[in-house]
Amino acid sequence: MHTECSLIARGYRADFRFTLAEANRLVDLEVGIGLADGSQRLATSTAGYIPVKDIVRLARYFEDHLASLARNPDTQSEGFVPLELNFELQAMEGEVRAGGDGEFTLRVMVNVTGTGSPNGSVYVGCEGVIDAAHVRDFTTRLHELASQFAADGRR
């Protein structure tokens, strides 16, 4: 069974596809990047295990970044990586105005070779501006999914 949610930036999108394994009750995630209008898929990460609490950690990464931007537009957060390093995000400088409107630069890199490949991992990515409103939609969806997965007994 698969469930998806997406980060829609200005010009590109990152689609997060969760796979729910029945045998071990774990959740796998792969991330695909492409143009925002859907006309071109650029790359898809390898699939990697993501603990449910890391889905919450991903949502909080963006929530914390938006809160930091409201105080300092030059905020550049450290990169976010999951346990199996199959993608990497970095939220960077931007602006959040009174009322919560705003935008920031987001880099999304997907690991297309997997960790441990003899020549090292190869990452393919997109970087561009994303609206705070779209990020909030994404974090809301992540919290919903994490609650749903936890209620379903997944780890």
Partner: protein, 42 residues
Amino acid sequence: MPQRSYNIAIVNEQGEIVTAMRNLDPKALRKLGQNYGFNPDP
């Protein structure tokens, strides 16, 4: 000089191995350390 590489196993609170990875470069190990709160430079 060849770059160091690391093999790691990650264990959950129940003591189960949840993932293991080979040939991580120092940069990858550092990112994991920053994200998961361990010292990546033992």
